[in-house]
Protein backbone atom coordinates (compact mmCIF):
# COMPACT_ATOMS: atom_id res chain seq x y z
CA UNK A 1 0.00 0.00 0.00
CA UNK A 2 2.87 2.31 0.75
CA UNK A 3 3.79 2.55 -2.90
CA UNK A 4 0.25 2.64 -4.20
CA UNK A 5 -1.44 5.97 -4.90
CA UNK A 6 -3.95 6.62 -2.13
CA UNK A 7 -7.51 6.97 -3.29
CA UNK A 8 -9.00 10.47 -3.23
CA UNK A 9 -12.46 11.99 -3.19
CA UNK A 10 -13.48 13.29 -6.61
CA UNK A 11 -14.92 16.49 -5.12
CA UNK A 12 -14.97 18.30 -1.78
CA UNK A 13 -18.76 18.15 -1.90
CA UNK A 14 -18.45 14.37 -2.20
CA UNK A 15 -16.29 14.26 0.93
CA UNK A 16 -18.69 16.52 2.81
CA UNK A 17 -21.71 14.44 1.83
CA UNK A 18 -19.92 11.28 2.97
CA UNK A 19 -18.90 12.94 6.26
CA UNK A 20 -22.47 14.16 6.81
CA UNK A 21 -23.80 10.73 5.85
CA UNK A 22 -21.56 9.18 8.47
CA UNK A 23 -22.59 11.63 11.18
CA UNK A 24 -26.30 11.53 10.42
CA UNK A 25 -27.44 8.15 11.64
CA UNK A 26 -29.99 6.39 13.79
CA UNK A 27 -29.00 8.45 16.86
CA UNK A 28 -30.07 11.70 15.18
CA UNK A 29 -33.55 10.35 14.58
CA UNK A 30 -34.27 8.29 17.68
CA UNK A 31 -31.97 9.74 20.34
CA UNK A 32 -31.73 13.51 19.96
CA UNK A 33 -35.46 14.37 20.21
CA UNK A 34 -35.87 12.59 23.54
CA UNK A 35 -32.54 13.83 24.95
CA UNK A 36 -33.58 17.41 24.12
CA UNK A 37 -37.06 16.91 25.59
CA UNK A 38 -35.65 15.43 28.80
CA UNK A 39 -32.92 18.05 29.03
CA UNK A 40 -35.11 21.12 29.36
CA UNK A 41 -36.79 21.33 25.93
CA UNK A 42 -35.96 24.69 24.35
CA UNK A 43 -33.48 25.44 27.15
CA UNK A 44 -31.44 22.40 26.04
CA UNK A 45 -30.32 24.52 23.09
CA UNK A 46 -27.88 26.35 25.39
CA UNK A 47 -25.80 23.34 26.60
CA UNK A 48 -26.23 21.70 23.18
CA UNK A 49 -24.74 24.63 21.23
CA UNK A 50 -21.98 25.12 23.80
CA UNK A 51 -21.15 21.41 23.52
CA UNK A 52 -21.12 21.68 19.72
CA UNK A 53 -18.59 24.54 19.80
CA UNK A 54 -16.44 23.40 22.72
CA UNK A 55 -16.25 19.67 21.94
CA UNK A 56 -18.01 18.57 18.74
CA UNK A 57 -16.50 20.86 16.13
CA UNK A 58 -13.03 21.07 17.79
CA UNK A 59 -12.82 17.26 17.85
CA UNK A 60 -14.10 17.03 14.29
CA UNK A 61 -11.38 19.47 13.20
CA UNK A 62 -8.76 17.43 15.09
CA UNK A 63 -9.79 14.19 13.34
CA UNK A 64 -9.83 15.91 9.92
CA UNK A 65 -6.32 17.26 10.55
CA UNK A 66 -4.95 13.89 11.73
CA UNK A 67 -6.33 12.14 8.64
CA UNK A 68 -5.32 14.83 6.20
CA UNK A 69 -1.86 15.49 7.63
CA UNK A 70 -0.77 11.90 8.18
CA UNK A 71 -2.75 10.45 5.26
CA UNK A 72 -3.87 7.17 6.65
CA UNK A 73 -6.40 5.12 8.51
CA UNK A 74 -6.22 5.61 12.32
CA UNK A 75 -3.36 3.13 13.01
CA UNK A 76 -1.02 4.58 10.42
CA UNK A 77 -2.08 8.18 11.09
CA UNK A 78 -1.27 7.80 14.80
CA UNK A 79 1.92 5.87 14.04
CA UNK A 80 3.13 8.65 11.75
CA UNK A 81 2.35 11.20 14.46
CA UNK A 82 4.21 9.22 17.12
CA UNK A 83 5.02 5.50 16.93
CA UNK A 84 3.74 4.44 20.39
CA UNK A 85 0.32 5.98 19.74
CA UNK A 86 -0.56 3.55 16.96
CA UNK A 87 -2.26 1.36 19.60
CA UNK A 88 -4.92 4.12 19.78
CA UNK A 89 -5.58 3.66 16.08
CA UNK A 90 -5.96 -0.12 16.34
CA UNK A 91 -8.19 0.37 19.37
CA UNK A 92 -10.47 2.53 17.20
CA UNK A 93 -10.39 -0.10 14.45
CA UNK A 94 -11.56 -2.77 16.93
CA UNK A 95 -14.32 -0.42 18.13
CA UNK A 96 -15.50 0.02 14.54
CA UNK A 97 -15.51 -3.76 14.03
CA UNK A 98 -17.82 -4.24 17.01
CA UNK A 99 -20.14 -1.34 16.19
CA UNK A 100 -20.49 -2.34 12.54
CA UNK A 101 -21.43 -5.89 13.57
CA UNK A 102 -24.47 -4.82 15.60
CA UNK A 103 -25.37 -1.57 13.82
CA UNK A 104 -26.13 -3.54 10.63
CA UNK A 105 -28.72 -5.57 12.54
CA UNK A 106 -30.78 -2.50 13.43
CA UNK A 107 -30.75 -1.50 9.75
CA UNK A 108 -31.97 -5.02 8.92
CA UNK A 109 -34.89 -4.54 11.35
CA UNK A 110 -35.70 -1.20 9.70
CA UNK A 111 -35.65 -2.89 6.28
CA UNK A 112 -38.25 -5.42 7.49
CA UNK A 113 -40.35 -2.72 9.16
CA UNK A 114 -40.37 -0.73 5.91
CA UNK A 115 -42.13 -3.76 4.44
CA UNK A 116 -44.32 -4.33 7.52
CA UNK A 117 -45.56 -0.72 7.20
CA UNK A 118 -47.44 -1.54 4.01
CA UNK A 119 -49.87 -3.92 5.69
CA UNK A 120 -49.18 -2.69 9.22
CA UNK A 121 -48.41 -6.27 10.10
CA UNK A 122 -47.72 -5.47 13.76
CA UNK A 123 -51.49 -5.38 14.31
CA UNK A 124 -52.82 -4.06 17.62
CA UNK A 125 -49.77 -4.93 19.70
CA UNK A 126 -46.56 -3.52 18.17
CA UNK A 127 -44.46 -4.33 21.25
CA UNK A 128 -45.57 -7.97 21.32
CA UNK A 129 -45.06 -8.17 17.56
CA UNK A 130 -41.49 -6.79 17.85
CA UNK A 131 -40.34 -8.84 20.82
CA UNK A 132 -42.16 -12.14 20.29
CA UNK A 133 -43.19 -12.47 16.65
CA UNK A 134 -40.37 -10.66 14.91
CA UNK A 135 -37.27 -10.82 17.13
CA UNK A 136 -38.42 -13.87 19.13
CA UNK A 137 -36.44 -12.53 22.09
CA UNK A 138 -35.36 -15.14 24.65
CA UNK A 139 -36.68 -14.82 28.19
CA UNK A 140 -33.19 -14.43 29.67
CA UNK A 141 -29.97 -12.81 28.40
CA UNK A 142 -27.33 -15.30 27.34
CA UNK A 143 -25.22 -16.55 24.47
CA UNK A 144 -26.57 -17.64 21.08
CA UNK A 145 -29.06 -20.53 21.16
CA UNK A 146 -31.01 -20.34 17.90
CA UNK A 147 -31.40 -18.14 14.85
CA UNK A 148 -34.30 -15.95 13.75
CA UNK A 149 -34.67 -16.33 9.99
CA UNK A 150 -36.77 -13.17 9.64
CA UNK A 151 -33.75 -11.13 10.71
CA UNK A 152 -31.04 -13.27 9.07
CA UNK A 153 -31.98 -12.66 5.45
CA UNK A 154 -32.42 -8.87 5.57
CA UNK A 155 -29.15 -8.72 7.49
CA UNK A 156 -27.40 -10.66 4.72
CA UNK A 157 -28.91 -8.23 2.21
CA UNK A 158 -27.64 -5.22 4.22
CA UNK A 159 -24.15 -6.69 4.21
CA UNK A 160 -24.19 -7.52 0.50
CA UNK A 161 -25.16 -3.93 -0.36
CA UNK A 162 -22.68 -2.40 2.10
CA UNK A 163 -19.74 -4.50 0.96
CA UNK A 164 -20.75 -4.03 -2.68
CA UNK A 165 -20.56 -0.24 -2.25
CA UNK A 166 -17.23 -0.47 -0.41
CA UNK A 167 -15.79 -2.79 -3.08
CA UNK A 168 -16.31 -0.03 -5.65
CA UNK A 169 -13.86 2.18 -3.78
CA UNK A 170 -13.84 5.64 -2.21
CA UNK A 171 -14.82 7.59 -5.27
CA UNK A 172 -17.04 5.19 -7.22
CA UNK A 173 -18.52 3.52 -4.14
CA UNK A 174 -18.69 5.63 -0.97
CA UNK A 175 -18.84 9.02 -2.67
CA UNK A 176 -21.43 8.05 -5.28
CA UNK A 177 -23.58 6.23 -2.74
CA UNK A 178 -23.66 9.26 -0.45
CA UNK A 179 -24.51 11.54 -3.36
CA UNK A 180 -27.67 9.46 -3.66
CA UNK A 181 -28.27 8.70 0.05
CA UNK A 182 -28.07 12.21 1.49
CA UNK A 183 -30.44 13.98 -0.93
CA UNK A 184 -32.75 10.93 -0.68
CA UNK A 185 -32.69 11.08 3.12
CA UNK A 186 -33.35 14.82 3.11
CA UNK A 187 -36.27 14.37 0.70
CA UNK A 188 -37.81 11.44 2.62
CA UNK A 189 -37.49 13.19 5.95
CA UNK A 190 -38.79 16.54 4.71
CA UNK A 191 -41.95 14.88 3.38
CA UNK A 192 -42.27 13.03 6.70
CA UNK A 193 -41.90 16.26 8.71
CA UNK A 194 -44.43 18.13 6.55
CA UNK A 195 -46.91 15.29 7.11
CA UNK A 196 -46.10 15.13 10.84
CA UNK A 197 -46.62 18.85 11.53
CA UNK A 198 -49.99 18.80 9.76
CA UNK A 199 -51.33 16.01 12.00
CA UNK A 200 -53.85 16.85 14.73
CA UNK A 201 -52.00 17.34 18.01
CA UNK A 202 -48.66 18.09 16.30
CA UNK A 203 -48.44 21.52 17.92
CA UNK A 204 -48.75 20.04 21.41
CA UNK A 205 -45.79 17.78 20.62
CA UNK A 206 -43.71 20.72 19.40
CA UNK A 207 -44.77 22.68 22.46
CA UNK A 208 -43.41 19.89 24.67
CA UNK A 209 -40.14 19.77 22.71
CA UNK A 210 -39.45 23.50 22.58
CA UNK A 211 -40.98 24.87 25.82
CA UNK A 212 -37.92 25.91 27.80
CA UNK A 213 -37.38 24.66 31.32
CA UNK A 214 -34.55 26.99 32.33
CA UNK A 215 -33.93 25.19 35.61
CA UNK A 216 -32.55 22.27 33.56
CA UNK A 217 -29.41 24.18 32.59
CA UNK A 218 -28.30 24.29 36.22
CA UNK A 219 -28.42 20.46 36.29
CA UNK A 220 -25.00 18.89 35.59
CA UNK A 221 -26.68 15.74 34.21
CA UNK A 222 -28.22 17.82 31.41
CA UNK A 223 -24.80 19.16 30.44
CA UNK A 224 -23.35 15.64 30.42
CA UNK A 225 -26.20 14.49 28.22
CA UNK A 226 -25.71 17.46 25.83
CA UNK A 227 -21.99 16.68 25.47
CA UNK A 228 -22.82 12.97 25.12
CA UNK A 229 -25.33 13.68 22.36
CA UNK A 230 -22.88 15.87 20.45
CA UNK A 231 -20.06 13.38 20.94
CA UNK A 232 -21.96 10.26 19.90
CA UNK A 233 -23.94 11.81 17.06
CA UNK A 234 -21.03 13.42 15.22
CA UNK A 235 -19.19 10.14 14.49
CA UNK A 236 -16.14 11.33 16.39
CA UNK A 237 -13.89 9.19 18.57
CA UNK A 238 -13.77 6.07 16.46
CA UNK A 239 -11.54 7.07 13.60
CA UNK A 240 -14.11 7.50 10.83
CA UNK A 241 -13.25 11.13 10.21
CA UNK A 242 -9.52 10.37 10.30
CA UNK A 243 -10.07 7.75 7.60
CA UNK A 244 -12.35 9.91 5.43
CA UNK A 245 -10.01 12.94 5.71
CA UNK A 246 -7.08 10.78 4.60
CA UNK A 247 -8.64 10.72 1.12
CA UNK A 248 -8.73 14.54 0.98
CA UNK A 249 -6.20 16.56 -0.96
CA UNK A 250 -3.74 18.63 1.00
CA UNK A 251 -4.80 22.26 1.08
CA UNK A 252 -8.43 21.51 1.83
CA UNK A 253 -10.26 23.95 4.12
CA UNK A 254 -10.57 21.57 7.08
CA UNK A 255 -12.07 24.03 9.58
CA UNK A 256 -14.71 25.18 7.12
CA UNK A 257 -15.52 21.56 6.25
CA UNK A 258 -15.92 20.69 9.94
CA UNK A 259 -18.30 23.64 10.44
CA UNK A 260 -20.45 22.50 7.51
CA UNK A 261 -20.51 18.86 8.68
CA UNK A 262 -21.18 19.80 12.31
CA UNK A 263 -24.01 22.21 11.49
CA UNK A 264 -25.50 19.79 8.95
CA UNK A 265 -25.62 17.06 11.59
CA UNK A 266 -27.30 19.38 14.08
CA UNK A 267 -29.68 20.70 11.40
CA UNK A 268 -30.86 17.16 10.77
CA UNK A 269 -31.27 16.62 14.51
CA UNK A 270 -33.55 19.66 14.77
CA UNK A 271 -35.55 18.38 11.80
CA UNK A 272 -35.79 14.94 13.43
CA UNK A 273 -36.90 16.53 16.70
CA UNK A 274 -39.71 18.37 14.91
CA UNK A 275 -40.79 15.26 13.00
CA UNK A 276 -40.68 12.90 15.99
CA UNK A 277 -42.37 15.20 18.52
CA UNK A 278 -45.07 16.36 16.11
CA UNK A 279 -45.86 12.67 15.60
CA UNK A 280 -45.79 11.93 19.35
CA UNK A 281 -48.13 14.91 19.87
CA UNK A 282 -50.57 13.26 17.46
CA UNK A 283 -50.28 10.00 19.40
CA UNK A 284 -50.93 11.73 22.73
CA UNK A 285 -53.93 13.69 21.47
CA UNK A 286 -55.60 10.82 19.62
CA UNK A 287 -54.95 8.41 22.50
CA UNK A 288 -56.05 10.90 25.15
CA UNK A 289 -52.81 10.40 27.09
CA UNK A 290 -50.17 12.77 28.41
CA UNK A 291 -47.19 13.36 26.13
CA UNK A 292 -44.66 12.40 28.81
CA UNK A 293 -46.19 8.92 28.77
CA UNK A 294 -45.62 8.44 25.04
CA UNK A 295 -42.23 10.19 24.79
CA UNK A 296 -39.43 7.68 24.48
CA UNK A 297 -36.30 6.98 22.46
CA UNK A 298 -34.27 4.25 20.78
CA UNK A 299 -35.77 0.94 19.79
CA UNK A 300 -38.96 1.64 21.77
CA UNK A 301 -39.56 4.83 19.80
CA UNK A 302 -38.79 3.48 16.34
CA UNK A 303 -40.14 -0.06 16.52
CA UNK A 304 -42.97 0.23 19.06
CA UNK A 305 -44.27 3.82 19.33
CA UNK A 306 -44.04 4.66 15.63
CA UNK A 307 -45.79 1.46 14.44
CA UNK A 308 -48.61 2.22 16.87
CA UNK A 309 -48.88 5.77 15.54
CA UNK A 310 -48.75 4.57 11.93
CA UNK A 311 -51.69 2.26 12.62
CA UNK A 312 -53.77 5.17 13.89
CA UNK A 313 -52.94 7.58 11.12
CA UNK A 314 -54.66 8.25 7.81
CA UNK A 315 -52.33 6.96 5.03
CA UNK A 316 -50.16 5.46 7.77
CA UNK A 317 -48.49 3.01 5.39
CA UNK A 318 -46.92 5.86 3.44
CA UNK A 319 -45.75 7.49 6.68
CA UNK A 320 -44.22 4.14 7.72
CA UNK A 321 -42.40 3.83 4.41
CA UNK A 322 -40.97 7.33 4.85
CA UNK A 323 -39.93 6.77 8.47
CA UNK A 324 -38.38 3.33 8.18
CA UNK A 325 -36.96 4.18 4.75
CA UNK A 326 -35.22 7.17 6.41
CA UNK A 327 -33.82 4.90 9.12
CA UNK A 328 -32.44 2.51 6.49
CA UNK A 329 -30.80 5.27 4.43
CA UNK A 330 -29.40 7.12 7.47
CA UNK A 331 -28.11 3.84 8.90
CA UNK A 332 -26.53 2.63 5.65
CA UNK A 333 -24.48 5.79 5.10
CA UNK A 334 -23.15 5.49 8.66
CA UNK A 335 -22.48 1.74 8.43
CA UNK A 336 -20.45 2.22 5.25
CA UNK A 337 -18.19 4.71 7.04
CA UNK A 338 -17.70 2.46 10.07
CA UNK A 339 -16.71 -0.58 7.98
CA UNK A 340 -14.43 1.56 5.82
CA UNK A 341 -12.24 2.31 8.88
CA UNK A 342 -11.48 -1.39 9.33
CA UNK A 343 -10.96 -2.04 5.61
CA UNK A 344 -8.65 0.98 5.22
CA UNK A 345 -6.61 -0.06 8.28
CA UNK A 346 -6.05 -3.56 6.94
CA UNK A 347 -5.20 -2.20 3.49
CA UNK A 348 -2.68 0.23 4.99
CA UNK A 349 -1.23 -2.47 7.20
CA UNK A 350 -0.90 -5.31 4.71
CA UNK A 351 -0.81 -3.61 1.33
CA UNK A 352 -3.56 -5.83 -0.08
CA UNK A 353 -5.94 -4.42 -2.68
CA UNK A 354 -9.41 -3.10 -2.02
CA UNK A 355 -11.42 -6.08 -3.27
CA UNK A 356 -9.54 -8.72 -1.21
CA UNK A 357 -9.68 -6.38 1.81
CA UNK A 358 -13.44 -5.90 1.44
CA UNK A 359 -13.97 -9.63 1.03
CA UNK A 360 -11.73 -10.65 3.96
CA UNK A 361 -12.32 -7.83 6.45
CA UNK A 362 -15.85 -6.87 5.50
CA UNK A 363 -16.66 -10.55 5.23
CA UNK A 364 -15.33 -11.16 8.75
CA UNK A 365 -17.45 -8.36 10.22
CA UNK A 366 -20.50 -9.57 8.30
CA UNK A 367 -19.91 -13.11 9.52
CA UNK A 368 -19.63 -12.01 13.17
CA UNK A 369 -22.74 -9.90 12.70
CA UNK A 370 -24.75 -12.74 11.14
CA UNK A 371 -23.55 -15.37 13.63
CA UNK A 372 -24.26 -13.34 16.79
CA UNK A 373 -27.12 -10.92 16.37
CA UNK A 374 -30.05 -12.32 14.34
CA UNK A 375 -30.65 -14.70 17.23
CA UNK A 376 -33.06 -15.04 20.11
CA UNK A 377 -30.42 -13.53 22.39
CA UNK A 378 -29.40 -10.94 19.77
CA UNK A 379 -31.21 -8.01 21.38
CA UNK A 380 -29.43 -8.55 24.72
CA UNK A 381 -26.05 -9.00 23.02
CA UNK A 382 -26.63 -5.86 20.96
CA UNK A 383 -27.71 -3.82 23.98
CA UNK A 384 -24.72 -4.86 26.10
CA UNK A 385 -22.19 -4.44 23.29
CA UNK A 386 -23.64 -1.02 22.38
CA UNK A 387 -23.54 0.29 25.95
CA UNK A 388 -20.02 -0.87 26.78
CA UNK A 389 -18.38 -0.07 23.45
CA UNK A 390 -19.92 3.42 23.50
CA UNK A 391 -18.90 4.26 27.06
CA UNK A 392 -15.59 2.42 27.35
CA UNK A 393 -14.73 2.34 23.67
CA UNK A 394 -15.67 5.49 21.77
CA UNK A 395 -15.79 7.92 24.71
CA UNK A 396 -12.74 6.50 26.48
CA UNK A 397 -10.70 6.36 23.26
CA UNK A 398 -11.75 9.96 22.56
CA UNK A 399 -10.58 11.00 26.01
CA UNK A 400 -7.22 9.22 25.64
CA UNK A 401 -6.68 10.72 22.18
CA UNK A 402 -7.26 14.33 23.31
CA UNK A 403 -5.07 13.90 26.39
CA UNK A 404 -2.24 12.25 24.42
CA UNK A 405 -2.34 14.77 21.56
CA UNK A 406 -2.77 17.84 23.80
CA UNK A 407 -0.70 17.06 26.87
CA UNK A 408 1.65 14.14 26.20
CA UNK A 409 2.79 14.87 22.65
CA UNK A 410 1.85 18.60 22.75
CA UNK A 411 1.04 18.46 19.05
CA UNK A 412 -1.83 20.94 18.96
CA UNK A 413 0.22 23.99 17.78
CA UNK A 414 1.67 21.98 14.86
CA UNK A 415 -1.73 20.55 13.93
CA UNK A 416 -3.32 23.99 14.21
CA UNK A 417 -0.80 25.39 11.74
CA UNK A 418 -1.69 22.59 9.31
CA UNK A 419 -5.39 23.51 9.41
CA UNK A 420 -4.82 27.28 9.32
CA UNK A 421 -2.67 27.07 6.18
CA UNK A 422 -5.71 26.36 4.03
CA UNK A 423 -8.74 27.39 6.04
CA UNK A 424 -10.81 30.55 5.77
CA UNK A 425 -11.38 30.58 9.53
CA UNK A 426 -8.22 30.44 11.63
CA UNK A 427 -8.58 28.24 14.66
CA UNK A 428 -7.26 30.73 17.23
CA UNK A 429 -6.84 30.23 20.96
CA UNK A 430 -10.22 28.54 21.48
CA UNK A 431 -9.23 25.34 19.68
CA UNK A 432 -6.35 24.22 21.96
CA UNK A 433 -8.28 25.41 25.02
CA UNK A 434 -11.39 23.39 24.14
CA UNK A 435 -9.40 20.30 23.19
CA UNK A 436 -6.81 20.52 25.94
CA UNK A 437 -9.05 21.52 28.81
CA UNK A 438 -12.82 21.42 28.22
CA UNK A 439 -13.10 18.18 26.24
CA UNK A 440 -10.89 16.10 28.59
CA UNK A 441 -12.74 17.46 31.63
CA UNK A 442 -16.17 16.70 30.18
CA UNK A 443 -15.22 13.27 28.83
CA UNK A 444 -13.45 12.46 32.11
CA UNK A 445 -16.56 13.43 34.05
CA UNK A 446 -18.75 11.34 31.71
CA UNK A 447 -16.45 8.37 32.28
CA UNK A 448 -16.51 8.77 36.05
CA UNK A 449 -20.29 9.21 36.05
CA UNK A 450 -20.76 6.10 33.91
CA UNK A 451 -18.40 3.97 36.02
CA UNK A 452 -20.24 5.00 39.20
CA UNK A 453 -23.53 3.79 37.67
CA UNK A 454 -21.87 0.56 36.55
CA UNK A 455 -20.66 -0.13 40.09
CA UNK A 456 -23.94 0.91 41.72
CA UNK A 457 -26.06 -1.50 39.71
CA UNK A 458 -25.80 -3.89 36.79
CA UNK A 459 -26.61 -2.29 33.45
CA UNK A 460 -30.30 -3.05 32.71
CA UNK A 461 -30.16 -5.53 35.61
CA UNK A 462 -28.48 -8.08 33.35
CA UNK A 463 -26.67 -10.93 35.17
CA UNK A 464 -23.04 -10.11 36.02
CA UNK A 465 -21.71 -13.11 34.06
CA UNK A 466 -23.53 -11.88 30.94
CA UNK A 467 -22.22 -8.31 31.35
CA UNK A 468 -18.69 -9.61 31.82
CA UNK A 469 -18.77 -11.67 28.62
CA UNK A 470 -20.96 -9.52 26.35
CA UNK A 471 -20.00 -6.07 27.66
CA UNK A 472 -16.75 -5.71 29.58
CA UNK A 473 -14.94 -8.41 27.55
CA UNK A 474 -15.85 -6.61 24.32
CA UNK A 475 -14.70 -3.19 25.56
CA UNK A 476 -11.50 -4.48 27.17
CA UNK A 477 -10.86 -6.82 24.22
CA UNK A 478 -10.79 -3.79 21.91
CA UNK A 479 -8.03 -2.18 24.01
CA UNK A 480 -6.04 -5.42 24.18
CA UNK A 481 -6.34 -5.85 20.41
CA UNK A 482 -5.01 -2.32 19.93
CA UNK A 483 -1.99 -2.93 22.14
CA UNK A 484 -1.14 -6.31 20.54
CA UNK A 485 -1.40 -4.93 17.01
CA UNK A 486 0.88 -2.04 17.90
CA UNK A 487 3.70 -4.45 18.73
CA UNK A 488 3.66 -6.12 15.32
CA UNK A 489 6.33 -4.70 13.00
CA UNK A 490 5.44 -2.53 9.97
CA UNK A 491 7.32 -2.19 6.74
CA UNK A 492 9.54 0.88 7.10
CA UNK A 493 8.34 2.42 3.82
CA UNK A 494 4.75 2.26 4.99
CA UNK A 495 5.40 4.15 8.17
CA UNK A 496 7.28 6.93 6.45
CA UNK A 497 5.19 7.42 3.34
CA UNK A 498 3.07 10.31 4.45
CA UNK A 499 3.71 12.53 1.46
CA UNK A 500 1.06 13.65 -0.95
CA UNK A 501 0.80 11.13 -3.78
CA UNK A 502 1.18 12.20 -7.37
CA UNK A 503 -1.96 14.13 -8.15
CA UNK A 504 -3.96 12.16 -10.66
CA UNK A 505 -7.24 13.68 -9.74
CA UNK A 506 -9.17 16.41 -11.50
CA UNK A 507 -8.99 19.76 -9.78
CA UNK A 508 -11.59 20.02 -7.08
CA UNK A 509 -13.71 23.11 -7.15
CA UNK A 510 -16.46 22.39 -4.62
Amino acid sequence: MANQVREQWATRAGFLLAAIGSAVGLGNIWRFPYVAYEGGGGAFLVPYLIALFTAGIPLLVLEYILGNRYRGSPPIAFLRMSRPTQALGWWQVAICFVIAAYYAVVIAWAVRFTGFSIGQQWGDDPEGFLMQDFLQVAAEPGMVSSYVSGVVWPLIAVWVVTLGILALGVRRGIERANKIFIPLLAALFLVLVVRAVTLPGAMSGLDALFSPDWSAITDSAVWVSAYGQIFFSLSIGFGIMITYASYLRRGTDLTGSALVAGFANSSFEILAGIGVFATLGFMAVTGGIALDEVATDGIGLAFVAFPEIISNMPAGSLFGLLFFGSLVVAGMSSLISIVQVVIAAVQDRTGIGRIPAVLCVGGAIALASILLFPTEEGLYLLDAADHFINQYGIALAGLVVVVVVSWVLRKLPELQTHADEASAIRLGWWWPVTLGVITPLVLGWMMWDSLRSEIAENYEDYPTSFLLSAGWAVAIGAVVFGVIMSFLPWKRATTESAEEPADETPKVSR
Binding site: G42, L45, M203, F210, D253, G256
Partner: protein
Protein backbone atom coordinates in the same frame (compact mmCIF):
# COMPACT_ATOMS: atom_id res chain seq x y z
CA UNK B 1 -47.82 26.19 21.13
CA UNK B 2 -46.85 28.62 23.87
CA UNK B 3 -45.07 31.85 22.99
CA UNK B 4 -41.89 30.73 24.72
CA UNK B 5 -41.90 27.44 22.75
CA UNK B 6 -42.40 29.29 19.46
CA UNK B 7 -39.56 31.70 20.30
CA UNK B 8 -37.20 28.85 21.23
CA UNK B 9 -38.10 26.94 18.05
CA UNK B 10 -37.38 30.00 15.91
CA UNK B 11 -34.08 30.61 17.73
CA UNK B 12 -33.02 26.96 17.33
CA UNK B 13 -33.86 26.89 13.63
CA UNK B 14 -32.25 30.28 12.97
CA UNK B 15 -29.02 29.49 14.80
CA UNK B 16 -28.52 25.95 13.54
CA UNK B 17 -29.91 26.08 10.01
CA UNK B 18 -28.56 29.61 9.67
CA UNK B 19 -25.17 28.37 10.87
CA UNK B 20 -25.25 25.66 8.21
CA UNK B 21 -26.13 28.14 5.46
CA UNK B 22 -23.45 30.60 6.63
CA UNK B 23 -20.74 27.92 6.84
CA UNK B 24 -21.61 26.63 3.34
CA UNK B 25 -21.42 30.18 1.92
CA UNK B 26 -18.11 30.79 3.70
CA UNK B 27 -16.60 27.54 2.41
CA UNK B 28 -17.73 28.16 -1.17
CA UNK B 29 -16.35 31.74 -1.16
CA UNK B 30 -13.04 30.53 0.20
CA UNK B 31 -12.78 27.82 -2.44
CA UNK B 32 -13.56 30.30 -5.23
CA UNK B 33 -11.00 32.77 -3.84
CA UNK B 34 -8.37 30.04 -3.61
CA UNK B 35 -9.10 29.00 -7.20
CA UNK B 36 -8.73 32.64 -8.40
CA UNK B 37 -5.44 33.01 -6.53
CA UNK B 38 -4.14 29.84 -8.14
CA UNK B 39 -5.18 31.04 -11.61
CA UNK B 40 -3.60 34.49 -11.17
CA UNK B 41 -0.27 33.10 -9.96
CA UNK B 42 -0.22 30.50 -12.69
CA UNK B 43 0.41 27.81 -10.16
CA UNK B 44 -0.76 24.35 -11.17
Amino acid sequence: MSTSAIIMMIIAITLIWGGLAASIVLLRRHIQRAAQDTDSTGAP
